[in-house]
Amino acid sequence: MIHVILRSLLARKLRLLMSTSAIVLGVAFVAGSLTLTDTLGRVFDNLFVNLNAQTDLEVRGHVAIEGATGPTVLRTPVQARVLATVAAVPGVRAVTGDVSGYAQILRKDGTAYKTGGAPAGGVNYDANAATSSISLRKGRAPTAAGEVALDVTTARKAGFQVGDHITLLLASGRQEPTITGTFGLGKNDSLGGASIVAFDQVTAERLLGRPGEYDALRIAAVDGTSIPDLRRRLTQVLPGSVEIASGAQIAAETSSAVKTGLSFFNTFLLVFAGVALFVGAFLIFNTFTILVAQRQRELAVLRALGASRTQVTSSVLAEAVVIGLLASGIGVGLGLLVALGLRALVGTFGATLPPGPLVVSSQTVLLSFLVGVGITGVAALLPARRASAVRPIAAMRAAVLPQAGLRRGSAVGAVLLAAGIVLLVLGVGGRSALLGVGCVLTFLAVAMLSPVLSTPAARLLGAPLTRRIPGRLGRLNAMRNPRRTATTAAALMIGLAMVSAVSLVGASAKASFATDVPAALAADLVIQQQALDQGIPLGVVRQLAALPEVARADGLHRGQAKVGTKLTNVTTLPASAIGPALILKRVTGDVTALAPGRLLVDQDEATRQGLKVNGHVTVQLPRSAPRSYVVVGTFAPNLLASKYLLDATAASGFATREDSTLLLTGRAGVSATALRHAVQAVTSTLPSLDLMDRKELTKSATGQIDTAMAFINVLLLLSVAIAVLGIVNTLALSVIDRTRELGLLRAVGLSRGQTRRMITTESTIVAIFGALLGIAVGVGFGIVLQRALHDQGITVLAIPYGRLAVFVLAAGVTGVLAALLPARRAARLNVLQAVSTA
């Protein structure tokens, strides 16, 4: 039996190539993203183990906000006096108090050195070989104020040599020390692309830290000391405000935190792999349905010869499994290339990844094969079962394969659609899992309903093309097999639905910015830090406020806090800025009544959390104790504000001291140009700041949306490409199916050109039908998503009609392109052979 299956597979090489390509691509994405995750994981594991190799134990504060996570989780500081306590414990050979802080390097031309998302920081140069992870590469360690050392990668990239002067922007101000040396971290040249400046211990404590506080204490034990014993002794003398961790534990924690951060990227890629595989399943389903139909006589002979139904079903399924194995194998191989490509892509975003071999785990390979074979098998299940329903008598005459009525499929489809819509509506509340399941159900439902639609749709879409005979015949061909047309179109529908939904959300976000930015911003200028994780030094706002052209300069500080039991972002701002600088649309209470101990909350969030005016809620900022706040007002969702607004006095509780955003309002009578000039004179010394008026802010925000949309659309293009392969495949199979008809048409005088036009018409109709279905579903999804993202500031619904029209046109062109090969094949058909094919 195996022999028979392989024979039948080899006889259909081209068709197989087409239908497997979908599975190959999907599996490649799965394997690629899993391999990348493993590889990066290994890289970071090594990095942090290496980095903490010198640390036997560490004394550190507790996590500032319980439950907070992320690579840069904030801990309460360790009081300086603990250092002496630790040093006195027997078995401690050396202990170093670490401090760190913001330190932006300026290149020699005065521009900021950008790390592409990695931290830019200053640390203490730990000269004690027993505890230090710093290894000097060139020059000497900094020993006094006015001296620094630089990590060797940054020195090379930013073009600094030992002996050069360097300009640094610190939270405490500007510094221009001399570089005395370059260093690596353990064996590494870089910490994931971060720029690190090291000061001598005393200077670091003065410039970077807060007086009397350390980030953590790193301990090296006397050789031969039992670490668990030392840990016990330390626990006995240390205050309850600190905890002890081993070097290995810290390495594991840091590494897993970084990996958690990266897992977002992985999930993102897997979603696209999922879409590709979903589309691929449609293709496999369609291919097998057609193959089974073409082979019904052969299958009937098998049945007549005594093969059982189960044997027929399993012979078809076995074919699917072989295809699945083959495709998964190729997919895994291709996946390694995908992983290499993605790693390079991560590199271009600025992160410097330590080199290392690709880590291909057996789990990745197993999972990829499981997914590939599983999906192929499931997709072939229904056609295989239908194959076994062929009656032996069909061998003797040209019987039609028993087809389940369209009515039953439609009924199931309608039920699924209802369920999908219910889930989507429920999901609007913010449960993204429901949205996901709702999307999949809706796709399946529409796919099941589409055979009912396909014939009238083809009739309608083809109507303008019927003036000449090729168009008329093409339209009839598109109408004759509703299932085939519908399944082919459904594959395209999925891709286009996603693209349309993304476009709609993007357009809505842009429209929201365009209407909400002017509505929220009363100030003339906005200053923002370009780097994501950095702020604007506190001195700047005072400097700007002192300018004669400036009426008011307000600093907004955004950061993580715990409100009630929930971790969220809160923004602090001077109460007086509400109105003159930031416009809040009042919903309830008084939005101008902000003061210490009072807060304002976004109305959507208030509803969700059950907060009312005059109600109380506990807020904990990282550096301050939990405190009860009174809700004094609620406001409509606002793009510049977080969900919670606190008075500026609370800002000292944040992890960092820098402002996130500055709002500047000019004095009456000062022109926009004059104001900008005056402000630029100050900000030009801080080159990583963006200075924008309302229009520029809108443009910058919409620009970011365009970039994100382009990126997502490129990934979605993959599934569209797979769907197009599906059209090619179906057409090629249809041409084989209709060999006799084509021969007859050619015999009675249809020219090659007319034959090509006939196939192209069919292809175009199928493509446009798929596109229209997809756009209809996509617009639905888009509206649901826009509602779900309402409280994220996407308050305006904008349907990008122009873009959607372009999609339909593009689908039409795609249809023409997809028809190229099958049409060529049909036109080249040997008339005599076609006519005499029994």
């Binding site: 000449r468 005979i469 015949l473 109408m479 008809e741 009675v748 249809l750 020219s751 005599l832």
Partner: protein
Amino acid sequence: MTIRPAARCLDLVKTYGAGDTTVHALAGVTVEFEAGAFTAIMGPSGSGKSTLMNVMAGLDGATDGEAWIGETPLSAMKDKGLTALRRDKIGFIFQQFNLLPTLTAKENITLPMDIAGRKPDPEWFAQVVAAVGLGDRLSHRPDQLSGGQQQRVAVARALLSKRAIVFADEPTGNIDSRAGAEVLGLLRQCVRDLEQTVVMVTHDPVAASYADRVIFLADGRLVAELSSPTAESVLNEIKLLEGVPA
């Protein structure tokens, strides 16, 4: 009998394969098909009768020799010319699968004219439909028609566009004898009343007896000819030919 033949061929040779495996399907056939006459081509399996028809109809190329439709030689023509020739000059009736399943009987009849972008003359259309007796079946699709009705649609298709010559390949091979007699009678009537030229390949002496002339092929050669045949005379000729050593 008219002077000018509707189609003819001279020393027509058709070989398949090369070297030891060469098969001579046609080994030098010269024959004329008179306009306005009904000619039947007979011969045992492998005699070359279908090949002769395929080459004459421009469906297959000859290895050597020449074939003409009217005064047009076929050997120099490329696909485009042959397609146009088939569209404008030649009609076909195959053994089965004569009709497009997606089109109605009427649409199938007008298909060649639609392909050429011409409108059928309504009077002539009505006359043809009346002749083949399909008046009430025009809006049916092929799967709603009997085998004999399908063949009559194919005849109507060939007649409608007034083809110079109609080739019929075993037109009754796949239908019962009563329906077959109807189709053959129809072809006979077309030749007599409408002066249509018909060339039919068949192995059935009864079918051949409807023709004005029967030519016999064996091993790729023209071996005999019979005018005004009857079923008996055809059968006798076959018996005679079988007795003759090859």
